[in-house]
Subunit: 574 residues, 2 copies
């Protein structure tokens, strides 16, 4: 009997262990892999695509506002083409316009309508998939986000064109607000063939997966089971001036809410340690566009503000340390340049002083001014420009991309040298602009200090952090009192949700219109009832609408159905 | 030692079993529940909403085209209000316009701009969640789809306004094409307070979950972790005439591809068995709008077509059987009415003959004509109208909603009785329209048979099933031949993808523009090279663009960068 027991117990344990291991495997697959289960039949990618085809759902009225989500979109490096496999039954296409080549289906970077950054796909029949997708084709399961970095070696472009839009798009894809800052389980796919750049680790912070870089003529075909293409443009505030003079994007609705959550996310993911406490920071350039008297500026600034002044440059300090100091800084000073994009990390209450070299008008170059002036940023901005050519050091013999003009016609060189201000121009290589912006400057320290002092003193007038607008709903129990009194006695109850909004004074707007007429009278009240007499006729039907407004002037909706009341016969004596 | 072994083995087995059970439980949760794991800390719904807040992402330029996706949206029956909980850090709002009450955030049914069907939400602060959400608040995890059925007791409205849009929207949400017809794991939520209707089982077919019906003043609060609100309008072809006379939706792009996949899905889910083979079906009404001589029509139709004729009504036959017979029918005849919406189930090659009572003009009432005439439906349509008042049976004393006119002014009754055709009118209760459409008809059988015969004979002229448009991409290797010959010798290779499209003749369109001029000449070629001479000048730079067209006239894109070539000096002798 003992033998029997041993044998049985060993068998039972063996079976339990085997089942446990298998279950563990299934659980791991469920938690971590999102390729549809049928694909675990070991189909080749080509057969899967042949059987299912590609599908696409797009939303957006034109290519600059359109975003699309694809199923089974494949990139073929041998043709540098995103390829869409049409299956007679499996393919669904929604929201793709008939003129998708005029000029494109959508913008693949966030710079609107840039002809070098368009996205489109090539049509093929799904039945040809095995001819196009070799045995080594890779299938990326889960959700991917395919986009194009605009200019990945320039920090302003990285933040403004790529990272802030990336965060906004990832939140939309995963529907995660700020409360949960863990990395997104979305595969980032960089299109466009450019290598990872100097700031690549910033992109890496957004995903649990290492990014995929698509490159023409390089590597094997790659198919994406579920790919969003394109990024949200909602966070962009600046137009670089490809089609018209650079400046803030007309009608943009960007606020600090589009900027700071992404900045906070980056700080957490980069493990940035906040450094210093209300220090001043000079953002310094080491190679060109120098502040010649930077050391002296630093000393004088420290003396005036009575704080530590840190002079930080990317060449000598890590990005994480710069961000860490900016996140607690009271004052930042720097030449116009991409470093100032790090103002996204400034805390509310900070001051930014931007310096411009000779002949450059600060009102024409406002990416950083616009940024810190966004509603809710609560950063005070001042600009200083060098008006004194004797404190200016130009470099006419530099290479053209660093502002040299010696390659131009002598007449043109002469014109530029005598021009007191760079005229308006388009992006990006206007020689006069490059010549002037790469000049070095001996800054007028007293003037800069005065600006800084003034900005610091002005700080307390900022409104509180911008809040989203909260509206009352409709008023309730809107009725006429059908008593014998003359006039219209109207009463109502406040909207139900005002008890659950920030405390505010309520007022009510009442519209009264004679039934059948187009004219109406409008009244503002602070009470929830009133007897209207003025201007009303006896024995006449009137239509009444009421809406609630908060002291922020946020109007709620009127009652959907007009309240219809009839006035009684008035006494002929007053 | 035996005791020791027994004890140990029992313990080991017990531990294994316990772990196995727990693992099984986790696997089940992973497979079936999608509430974020943190919620399994046993938080109350109110606390979860208080801590996270609601979020919303909308896309669409106005309320008739907008669709939104909410996180933590709650319905409060005591206020009949969808409620949005604003959290200072957790809430994200994108795509919500400032004027979301003018008139609404979006349409909750698919009928555009119907003021009884608008969707909006009420703002409250997330910190008040525990005051508004009681202990019995329900949390719906996973993905939900909240919408409003427009008129759930009328089969045309059910199919056109609800079910086809539902299928389109579910495919978009889940990104499933036709290849996989299993039910969607999306929770359907019916807003608007109406009870499940006669056709409710059709809605039930779309989801693994039983639908939730939201009803004001009824039940407890309910919060949705992830809710889409609104349905796609892409499948709608008919405007019912609330704002202007009814008719096809102007500019609609609906094809059989928006209709038949949904119909196929329903047939599978309803377990419809295809019945009959190329039979004729008379769709019959039993209570009003009768075909008085229906039996005779049936006999004559059978004799003429030499097929079985089935007379089917919803009152006497199951919907599944009717669908089953329609799916194989060759000919369908019926009075204008919601039953004809079942034409979505007709196979290509079928014939639909629609009958109209006296004084009703078929050109003014075309939901079914438009449906079967959609590109790709391949159904032949004919309309017959009763021109003979002696073969007409009117019911002036019926209740008003069934066309009675005895409640109207005698003058108005008289006018209607003598009116030879219902004038154009708006939806939905025009008394003259109701009076006429509810008349019974002794149909002119020879005329109907002649129409039917003609339609059956005409069937073969239909084009094949509408295909999505497939485009060639850019031509490749576009170059000028820089030889000494006069003119421009241009050559290129075909686009790479044409080998993977249906066989077609290719042609090429070439645009030649003198560099610096606005004029250009255009050429069509069937070859991939040509020497252009006519109209060109010597020693002049030209810009060249080439695009490929298929015989369907589908033009691919031009080359992005113009090809720039200079003509040589031509000989002065010809």
């Amino acid at each position: 009997m003992q033998h029997w027991y041993v044998v049985v117990s060993v068998l039972v344990i063996a079976v339990l262990v085997a089942n446990y291991v298998q279950l563990q495997h299934r659980l791991h697959r469920c938690l971590h892999e999102t390729v549809p289960r049928r694909d675990q039949r070991n189909l080749s990618v080509a057969v899967l695509v042949k059987e299912q085809g590609s599908s696409v759902w797009c939303r957006g009225s034109d290519h600059t506002s359109r975003l699309c989500r694809f199923t089974n979109l494949c990139y073929l490096p041998q043709h540098d083409a995103f390829t869409f496999f049409h299956h007679p039954k499996g393919t669904v296409i929604r929201g793709v316009p008939i003129d998708r080549f005029d000029p494109a289906l959508l913008d693949m970077s966030t710079v609107a309508n840039h002809s070098g950054q368009y996205f489109n796909y090539a049509d093929v029949l799904a039945m040809t998939a095995e001819q196009l997708l070799g045995a080594s084709t890779r299938l990326v399961g889960g959700t991917s986000l395919i986009f194009r970095r605009f200019h990945p070696d320039n920090l302003m472009h990285v933040l403004h064109d790529d990272l802030l839009p990336l965060y906004d798009t990832l939140r939309m894809i995963t529907r995660r607000g700020d409360a949960d800052r863990t990395t997104y389980d979305v595969q980032l796919v960089m299109s466009g063939g450019r290598e990872p750049g100097e700031f690549q680790r910033l992109y890496d912070m957004f995903s649990t997966h290492k990014p995929i870089y698509l490159s023409p003529l390089h590597g094997t075909a790659i198919c994406f089971a579920d790919a969003y293409v394109g990024l949200s443009k909602d966070t962009r505030w600046y137009d670089y001036g490809f089609h018209k003079t650079q400046g803030p994007i007309k009608g943009h609705e960007v606020t600090a809410e589009h900027v700071r959550p992404a900045a906070e996310f980056l700080k957490i993911r980069l493990d940035v340690v906040a450094l210093g406490d209300k220090e001043a920071v000079i953002l310094s350039r080491r190679h060109n566009r120098l502040i010649v008297n930077e050391a002296e500026l630093s000393v004088e600034l420290a003396a005036m503000l009575n704080v530590r002044v840190r002079t930080l440059s990317l060449e000598e300090t890590s990005l994480e340390e710069i961000i860490g100091r900016l996140s607690r800084a009271a004052v930042v000073v720097g030449m116009h340049g991409s470093l100032l994009a790090l103002a996204v990390f400034l805390p509310p209450g900070a001051v930014l002083v931007e310096l411009f070299p000779y002949a450059v008008n600060p009102d024409h170059y406002t990416p950083y001014r616009t940024l810190v002036n966004l509603p809710g940023m609560a950063v005070t901005y001042r600009a200083w420009r060098n008006m004194d050519p004797t404190r200016n050091i130009a470099h006419p013999s530099a290479p053209p991309e660093l502002g040299g003009i010696s390659h131009l016609d002598p007449d043109e060189q002469d014109r530029i040298l005598h021009s007191p201000e760079v005229p308006l121009h388009l992006c990006c290589s206007d020689p006069e602009w490059l010549f002037r912006i790469y000049q070095d400057t001996v800054v007028d320290i007293p003037a800069v200090l005065a600006l800084t002092r003034d900005a610091v003193d002005q700080r307390h007038v900022f409104p509180s952090r911008s809040q989203p607008q909260l509206f009352p709903t409709e008023v309730r129990q809107l009725v006429c009192d059908q008593s014998d009194e003359a006039g219209l006695s109207v009463s109502w109850a406040p909207p139900w949700n005002v008890d659950f909004l920030p405390a505010t004074y309520l007022k009510y707007e009442v519209w009264i219109q004679e039934d059948g007429s187009d004219d109406y009278t409008a009244w503002i009240l602070f009470r929830t009832s009133h007897r209207f007499v003025e201007g009303l006729k006896s024995n006449t039907p009137y239509l009444i609408w009421v809406r609630c407004l908060t002291t922020d002037e946020m109007p709620g909706p009127f009652n959907k159905a007009a309240l219809r009341c009839r006035t009684k016969q008035f006494d002929t004596q007053s």
